[in-house]
Amino acid sequence: MSDNNNKLNGSPQTNGAAVSNGTPKIGFYVCHCGHNIASQVDVEDVQKFASELPGVAVSRDYKYMCSDPGQELIQKDIKELGLNRIVVASCSPLLHEHTFRTAAEKAGLNPYYFHMVNIRENVSWVHDNKESATKKAKDLTRAAIQRVFFHKALEKKTVPINPDVLIVGGGIAGITAALTIANAGKHVYLVEREPTIGGHMAMFDKTFPTLDCAACILTPKMSAVKSHPHITMWTYSEVEKVDGFVGNYRVQVKRKPRYVNEELCVGCMECIDACIYKEAKYPDEFNQKLSKRKPIYIPFPQATPQVVLFDPETCIDFKSHRCKKTCIEVCDREAIDLKQVPEYKEINVGTVILTTGFKTYDAELSPQYGYGRYPNVYTSLEIERLVNASGPTAGEIINKDGIKPKSVGIIHCVGSRDQKAHKWCSKVCCMYSLKLAHLIKEHTGAQVYNFYIDMRTPGKGYEEFYDKLMTEGVHFVRGRVSEVTDWALVPEEENKLTIRVEDTLIGVVRRVPVDMVVLAVGLEPRVDADDIRRMFNISCSNEGWFLERHPKLAPVSTFTDGIFIAGGCQGPKDIPDSVAQAGAAAAEVLSLISAGSIELEPNTASIMEDHCSGCKSCIPLCPYSAISYIEDSKKAYINEALCKGCGTCVAACPSGSITQNMFDDEQIFSEIDGLLKFAGIELEETEGEHA
């Protein structure tokens, strides 16, 4: 009697015909990983179990398979025992698959005869019953051993890397990465959404802990970007579309109209003076709306490029077409072009760095602090502008009523470390609060109070800066502020904002009346971070930060080859960290460019030409248009160069006429079979339930 289910390509034993590279001689190696695996999995038992499976020529266990001696063990066995299949049960293939493949290759075996069993991340680290963990490790082992029967020798697939690089976001991270790469002689396209590069850093006055002037260290870099022969800087532009894959991305960039010809404008700003609005009357975004600008404006004096732009929402001519256009009259370079339309640029790049930054927490979402209700409650970013010499008050710290505050309270952790807002620590707020405390004290001589939960100042020179502040007479109150209120209980609180807080160091509830409140708002992902990451096909964490490939070992790589991340888009970080990451990302990019090509998994699909019926079911399924219908042969055809190996067409081919390297039907069926081979044993007593 033959069972129909086994009639076809089932278990390896029933179908020797598909086996390549001679009779399988499998070497099986199980790793202790110190105690990581061995403490939860009986590795000797797994080793013994594997030694009795069909096809296994040698089975060993070893302390650290990934170590040099571990790899040499495999290589020696390949050479001496003539092994033609290798299975290693250790950690995740995402970690060490490459290691073992390379080891096998060095011993003369095609690396794709190797398969890895994950008994650490998938077994020992997640289970605490040794018996069931061992059993699971055995099932996974049997599946892998059955699978390698069907492995085939494959050629590595390499793709060339286009040396041009796209960097999205022109803050300090993007600027650093762009300069590093351009200085190496590679061409960079730097795309910035705002009218100027510079990002958040351009808004700051001083930087902690050295208190050097942000503009003084940033603006030279901004000019360097502008004038660099290897950098194409596109401000007021956004990436619209991304296609392709590592080495060869096709990107469409939308250049939004400034209504000013960037080539002609020299930034003399005479048009701004000539605007028929004599007074600036629209909120200035760069100054956090603490000042006003005209419909034609330049974000700040050192804006790069030094090119004005129009705000069509407020310009009379855009609204009514009845403006005298004094701006155009005054521009002798004829740079103003009110008929400008968006321009779309198509570029080809090999690699991408995303440095799209962060946004600050919206303080109105924590209403207890009165932001938006009390005019004298400011966010930290607003204070950065106030304290800045080129800011709305030319560097004077004054309240909205024009009065210089005599006392200022800085509330830490607004939107951070808060179950009702964000759980994470935004990392930079303690330090910038200290910096602002120093600057406020310096500029106003006011009494400055810091209300903090924990003071977090790890970093070179950071703790020392904190110490310095304490000697400067800044007050520190430990406790989360419950409320900012204008309800005075005592005469001293009249016309003041009173901060209610439990001072946990002395164990009393205090009321501290101040003239000005500064909210140290936390950092959060940008609103459209999700759209960006989808466009670039990368993942994000639960919080919305772009996800790195490995938190420790691949902090600027992503799961998409050729796409790197740096700076605030990956998580809260300060300027030194952002710059360091940008450098790391630039190095990753340069290393790819320098290699000239990248090896990709040869997991492509192909049509069995003799068997394809030309039903065309697969053709619309391919996201990369790799499948086409050949009119001459009336069959489908897969362009291997375009195939990325998802296998969707393989699963959907109704006549089973598409195969996929590394994930072929028979490989997966043999895995299923191996996993379940003894599924029945523990069920004996229940059999017949459905009889």
Binding site: M1, S2, N4, L8, S613, C615, S617, A652, P654
Partner: protein, 324 residues
């Protein structure tokens, strides 16, 4: 003159269509009859089981068995034929894959018996009479075959050498098979004697199928007027052609009806229904569950649609009772 090769035909759980298809050889039947000695064909000639039992084991060159295996008698006959024949060929969808009778695997035997002998509205059976396996009658022991719990394919009961697919197989396939047998150049055991590619290859509408078919609604044949110049799938009518082995020359489609899958899957597919489901669903246009479900409402009976001829040979083979 040496003996002519001996050939047998037998039927199990089948409709008789396969037997018809033998007669459909028309003039060619004379060629067949000339070339072989038909030693066993209960439908057409008077043979008894004892005649077969009397033959030497392995004395028949080939027996073509049609029909699924549902009863103990069919099992016994299948085993007997296996002993007496050098080659056993599963002939037609039912022997090959269970065929339409195997849709009965959607119901437990008990439920079928209850309905047939009591529940069916057309049955009058006040005494609740049921067939017995054996009764004493006039001191004679009269027996009936037992209905088994499952409908099985022929190869789930005996070893099968070749398969001729179809409901029924076309005369051309039968003739080709006989010629192959007579030639002695036998294909590898287990071969399905029909081209190993999907039916679209032979379909006259192949060129009219768009490369971007995207299903927004499915129709059963009675719901639409089918355009007889176009691919049926492109009209939203479920045609099993892409998942069904070629060999019939797309007869149903020539009759303006969709392929319902009687030739079974290609050799590379374990489960015809699952593959057809995968291909169809992948190409549905909706992306949200609600939209997808609305399109799927056009397939009210997926089992009957995708496994019309092959439930017995599908991966699951039967309904699992009471797993709720």
């Amino acid at each position: 003159m040496p003996d002519k090769p001996k050939i047998g035909f037998y039927w199990c759980a089948s409709c008789g269509g396969c037997e018809e298809s033998v007669v459909d050889l028309a003039e060619d039947i004379i060629m067949v009859a000339d070339a072989v000695d038909i030693v066993f064909w209960p439908v057409a000639m008077d043979f008894k089981r004892s005649d077969v039992e009397a033959m030497d084991d392995g004395s028949i060159l080939a027996t073509m068995v049609n029909g699924a295996i549902r009863t103990s008698e069919q099992e016994e006959m299948a085993r007997l034929i296996r002993r007496k024949s050098k080659i056993v060929i599963a002939y037609g969808s039912c022997a090959h894959m269970g065929g339409i009778p195997s849709l009965a695997n959607e119901f437990p035997r008990q439920q079928i018996m209850d309905f047939m002998y009591e529940g069916s509205p057309s049955v009058v059976n006040p005494d609740k009479t049921r067939p017995m396996l054996s009764v004493k009658h006039n001191s004679m022991n009269v027996t009936l075959p037992e209905i088994r719990n499952l409908v099985r394919t022929l190869d789930q009961v005996i070893d099968v050498d070749y398969y001729i697919p179809g409901c029924p197989p076309t005369p051309k396939l039968l003739k080709d098979a006989v010629l192959v047998l007579l030639s002695g150049k036998l294909p590898p055991k287990g071969t399905v004697l029909s081209p190993d590619e999907a039916l679209c290859e032979q379909c006259k509408h192949k060129d009219t199928k768009p490369v971007d078919v995207s299903f927004k609604q499915f129709y059963r044949p009675h719901m639409v007027i089918i355009d007889n110049t176009k691919c049926l799938l492109s009209q939203g009518v479920i045609c099993m052609g892409p998942a069904t082995r070629a060999g019939c020359e797309a007869l149903c489609i020539q009759g303006n009806m969709p392929c319902s899958g009687c030739f079974g899957p290609t050799s590379r597919v374990k489960d015809q229904g699952a593959k057809m489901l995968s291909s169809l669903c992948s190409n549905i246009s909706a992306k949200d569950e609600e939209g997808i479900d609305a399109v799927l409402d056009g397939i009210p009976d997926p089992v009957g649609t995708f496994y019309r001829y092959g439930l017995a040979s599908s991966l699951l083979r039967k309904k699992i009772p009471e797993d709720v």
